[in-house]
Symmetry: C2
Subunit: 373 residues, 2 copies
Amino acid sequence: MSLSGSIVTLSAPTQRLMSVASHLHSQRFKVVVCRNLGPDVMSILEARPELDLVVWPQNSACERSWLMENISGATGVIVMLTDKVNAELLDKAGPSLKVVSTMSVGYEHIDLKEAAQRGLKVGYTPDVLTDAVADLSVMLALMAGRNGGTGVDLVQSGQWANFSWSPFALCGPQLSTTPASPTKTIGFLGFGRIAQATLARLVPFGITHCLYSSNPSSLPNDARDAALVKQHKLQAVSKVDIDELSRESDVLFVLAPGGSETYHIVNETLLRKMKRTSILVNASRGTLVDSDALAKALREGWIWGAGLDVVEGEPNVTVDHPLVKEPRCVIVPHIASATLETRLEMATRAAQNLIGAILGWEMPSQVNLSNVS
Amino acid sequence: MSLSGSIVTLSAPTQRLMSVASHLHSQRFKVVVCRNLGPDVMSILEARPELDLVVWPQNSACERSWLMENISGATGVIVMLTDKVNAELLDKAGPSLKVVSTMSVGYEHIDLKEAAQRGLKVGYTPDVLTDAVADLSVMLALMAGRNGGTGVDLVQSGQWANFSWSPFALCGPQLSTTPASPTKTIGFLGFGRIAQATLARLVPFGITHCLYSSNPSSLPNDARDAALVKQHKLQAVSKVDIDELSRESDVLFVLAPGGSETYHIVNETLLRKMKRTSILVNASRGTLVDSDALAKALREGWIWGAGLDVVEGEPNVTVDHPLVKEPRCVIVPHIASATLETRLEMATRAAQNLIGAILGWEMPSQVNLSNVS
């Protein structure tokens, strides 16, 4: 009989006894969970007898007052992007707090300096959403070029029969190369994992050149770029300045971190340099794109179209928003990581990070706080 | 001085004289053009002094009465999918007619038997739209899985701020494979050029298996399939029966010809066999899918979602249509070939086919009428 077989054959009463014994002898930890993480992941947390779970009970963002009230004496907390983790909250939690685990790849809602000063561990969920975001980036590039938004609207509003077909109606620039148009340049603002995963997906569309701009302080990586040229059989993978990136890209993907260093990096100056047939895709953070400048670029035809997963000031984006009014702007509501597989993996990782930090096990994904000051 | 240089240096008056001489000495042919093909392609036709062009003047489908009135004595006609070419029209044209050139890959609007009996040549525009249709097929697969339609609607209607984020809100099945879900089977109903171009585009999404069903009379092509396995590093490319195709496909692409042999091939029986997380994409002809059965499948959750470029009975698809009412059905108005590059190439090919047939030159794409009876 195998080891796993012998574990399986433990009788239910025996298992209960062991669980009770564990309860009696081990310390118990209060854990605040700011959102129900679904049955698969909540059962991972519930299976740990060491944890006393306090879970926000509603199907909406956790209310600040509830969180402030319940955080006192907690050892760990699982938060979402919408939950601000600042000195006020950490003070309220008190010295028992060991870990803040966020179900997100970004951690701009967490004051890392305050966390570091208190010796906390911070968990996050990188990597697992790379493929979901790359998939959505490709979808947005296609939708922006192919009138995906306008086409859906036309059918949904019952106007298909009134739509007057003509040889070039609802036509836009083709993502794939053609014999008459055999080159295509894809640009990336930011060239990390998600950008490279997006690049890989575009290779069979016949793209020929990849340009990117990244953090000015990061060194060129010629060996990596040469390997990508070979792997994808491209004519070039080159780090260029933002000026060249703007001028040469047929599709420009914005896939860089948010924050003050990239604030409005896509502005009127950049957009005026782009090709009239080009597409802009933003699947990173809304703050990187100046919405007014982009609306003007679309209205005046500086670029062909845009596909956005994020908009500055979201979710407060009303029908009066200048980008919502542009027919060639396709906007989806920040769903780049929204797949069943990826969100399950993110929630699982958030639970594992929390449990690992509390029980002294490995944390699969821990934010490095050693350089935070 | 090169030959091309010497041609360029002909003086304008000399060119005019040559054109006039050509007019005087050559026969002239009446050509009816059922749609303005845009400046680039109309200029190709206008540059032929042998042609007397009669062009439908409006930005809408050509009226039948206008076509019937103008076709008499024509040597050639350029038609669209919306222009029915039957015995009535061909009789009206009379014995002068030599060629029918359609700007489309399909020619179900042309009575080939009647054309063959009259010894006509028929031109069409295959191949040139393969990539545009493959691009759109990928877009529809992504939109159907990722709530592309619902997401756009939500932002367009100003509801983003009221949308209650939760870990699994607006989540659907991920097209890309993941470490926890490492296999993905793509199915094709019909496995011609467009299907194979779609397959190639999906390889970097991590798909592992490709299944297809095609015309029962077509022989298995084991060598081709083995080459595709090797080229794309897949675990399998296999011809299977429709039953297995329905059961195994995570995404099922319908990319087969229309007509009686494929009428409602996607029906309730097929849809009931599909996976609950599967996606159906139709970018071929609306008649292949039973709309009522698909609406029922979506409503009752037999499959996850659908992406359609075509709907039976289009363009008469109103807001009351059962598929328009399904939130997980993404519909675009038959725009699979609608890119600037592809439509320009299709219109150019239609002009070349017409000119070739009339002037006795090569027709780039001629329908084979030798087996039509």
